[in-house]
Subunit: 417 residues, 2 copies
């Protein structure tokens, strides 16, 4: 049994923090055994990693990001969406047919995720299977856990970034088989979005959901132009979500990024199916997509998690993205005079606890969860008076604590520090 | 003569970048002598600091921030404005009667400004003269230049943070006299805002503007509650700005923070007087103040500069604040469907070139300007293809280039690196 000690702070419920000063947490290779104010005598011979007065919080889950867009992070942000896609996104992704390049970029991405305290991901790769396997390998090597998807797109990608329907299907199957060698990174089916996939491909992916028992990730209702386009492509569907539902790509293991412009009818369908909304506030601001009604979704009982959506979003760090979620919610409140903004505890819940169920776990440092954590040393930040742990927690979220991450744990292993 | 070499990037006009690849810049203790593609033979014996392929940009001016609020940066951000002031702001500022504490905090602030590439400031201190002199001393020691103001407030500050009118006047004069010893940091008159100052104090400050030939900084039209309060206090004034104008605190050396809710009439008065609007996008988002109409102001010919407004704002780095200005402008565009968002070149102009005239200089690296610059090494950021200097510039703004600042120059001196 491994014991770590410090100030444990986590969110068991949306909007509530559990703050345990100078407590012990015991975990082994099966996960968290328990949290104790006084160390049980059974553990008296265990080695204790004593982080003193540091803050220990669950590490972040980034539930929507595009790995091959990492090298274009922070570029083309003044372009309209279509120009941005054609000038930056698609040409950048097309480079990932080069496996050596993929190795270099993905090793760097994996290392930067760890340094920023992100240990769980649901990630889009490109359509290239070999580069996707390299991505999974590099994430696994760095200690990251979660899901990676080979992207499917057999239309509207242009010459350099498109597969035939047959290729897309056979390559996806090759990739699923090859992915079996990874212990911590699992495959997730990834139709890029409805306009990128023919009905035949969507049907084949729906069949694979059943055949391989895999989760699904895609995009939904990000902006009005996209919604109108989907309507043209599927005149039989009243709303965008139905284009996924029709092909068996709509269930309680489905992640749908954005949902900025989802109607209440669409949100009800999301709630009823148990689909997860991945809120990507930085991206939605950068690309002028809008301000998703997160408070309203939470009130409806929709499951909302957070994503950086690099490189539509410009921040890899989930510290930045959770405060971006607060700012976006404030923009919405200022704009519409309703939907009260998200508090720091609420945004923290979305970035750490809300995704737990997607990984078959419970919110926070619950017994039985695998141990994922960030240890933050905030002792060098000056103050005029002693601060409460709650205040230090909030400050750590907003200040991003550059250089202050002492250690990162992922799936019961110390992977940094 | 000192020569530095690298990729020089600066904004001479709003929305335009001058990009000079591998050029030489010559400066001495009087300022910038010139920029050359080939080094003139007259300088052939000068030592060259060759930054190779690094980016060299003008350093930032932070034209509105509250030094004594630095230790509360990132706390209380979920509180309504009044609670935030009473729980955090005023109690924190009141600690600065302690000069030893001020020394510690202000040395830390000065050092972090330098590390983030901010070399010019217009800063609020607290009402305490001794701590204000310590602040000026620490900024001067770190190499920062610009203006610091002892805050005046003889009403509505509560027990711990208020002066009598007489004290406020005599202490301000003592401070102005004592400030004469500083070479790079100058005093600026600083009525906190209209609700903090009696008419008698406002009149005395107006007299000091003439007597000592000093610039002025304050707050204007930040939120609706404040505007209504000012209206109650000055029923004779049709608009907020007139409460400053009435007392001689409104001229072309006046900085007014926020102006989120200024009417066109108020903006015309700003333009006609040559007053500077200090746009503080992070603060305006964090405190739900709103989204200032910057595009509209620029179209009117109003002079707009940028401020971090810590600790209403949560980012000290002007990299963050200039991208926050872009995001805030995007929020406005999404909200109202007009006022096209600010491009990265435009926001960069506001953070570097627009404040030049306040310091009697020209935009960019103009001949005769004192040399203020940041040298950025972006060579460790991976890319899939060679990038243009314009692309590298944009990426550097968005990525904040943590740890990538090689050197900082301020008023013709290398102060970091």
């Amino acid at each position: 049994m491994n014991i770590i000690k410090g100030n444990l702070i986590f969110a068991e419920k949306f909007g509530e923090l559990t703050i345990l000063e100078h407590h012990y947490l015991a975990y082994d290779e099966h996960g968290i055994e328990g949290i104790y104010q006084t160390l049980p005598s059974a553990f008296s011979n265990c080695k204790i990693e004593d982080y003193q007065d540091a803050l220990i919080i669950p590490s972040f889950s980034d539930m929507h990001l595009h790995a091959p867009q990492y090298p274009m992070l922070g570029m083309g942000m003044d372009l309209p969406l279509l120009d941005w896609l054609n000038t930056y996104t698609f040409p950048t992704e097309s480079h990932f047919k080069d496996v050596a390049l993929a190795r270099k970029i993905y090793a760097d991405l994996a290392s930067n995720l760890v340094k920023n305290g992100t240990t769980r991901v649901a990630m889009f790769s490109s359509l290239h299977v070999d580069a996707t396997l390299v991505l999974m390998e590099e994430l696994e090597r760095a200690g990251i856990t979660g899901y990676v998807g080979k992207v499917n797109m057999d239309r509207n990608g242009g010459e350099d970034l498109q597969e035939t329907t047959e290729e897309s299907i056979s390559e996806t199957k090759r990739w699923i088989e090859a992915s079996k060698r990874f212990a911590h990174i699992k495959p997730i089916l990834t139709p890029r979005f409805t306009p990128s996939c023919t009905n035949e491909l969507m049907q084949a992916l729906g069949d694979m959901v059943k055949q391989y028992d895999l989760p699904i990730q895609s995009h939904l209702s990000e902006n009005q132009g996209e919604i109108a386009w989907v309507k043209e492509l599927h005149p039989d569907c009243q709303e965008y979500w139905e284009t996924y539902d029709k092909y068996g790509l709509w269930n309680n293991r489905t992640l749908m990024a954005h949902c900025v412009h989802s109607s209440d009818r669409e949100l009800s369908a999301i709630k009823d199916a148990g689909v997860y909304v991945v809120h990507c506030p930085s991206s939605n601001e950068d690309l002028l997509s809008g301000y998703a009604p997160i408070r309203h979704m939470m009130d409806m009982g929709v499951r909302v998690v957070l994503g950086s959506d690099i490189a539509g979003g410009d921040h890899l760090s989930m510290f930045d993205n959770l405060t971006a979620a607060i700012r976006a919610s404030k923009a919405r409140q200022v704009m519409y005079g309703k939907d009260r903004f998200l508090t720091v505890e609420e945004a923290f819940y979305l970035a750490t606890s809300a995704p737990a169920s997607f990984f078959d776990e419970k919110p926070g440092f619950a017994k039985g969860n695998s141990f994922h954590a960030i240890v933050i040393d905030d002792s060098k930040v000056l103050s005029v008076r002693p601060l409460s742990l709650k205040e230090r927690f909030e400050r750590a979220m907003y200040r991003r604590q550059e250089g202050a991450i002492l250690a990162v744990y992922s799936e019961n292993r110390k992977i940094y520090g």
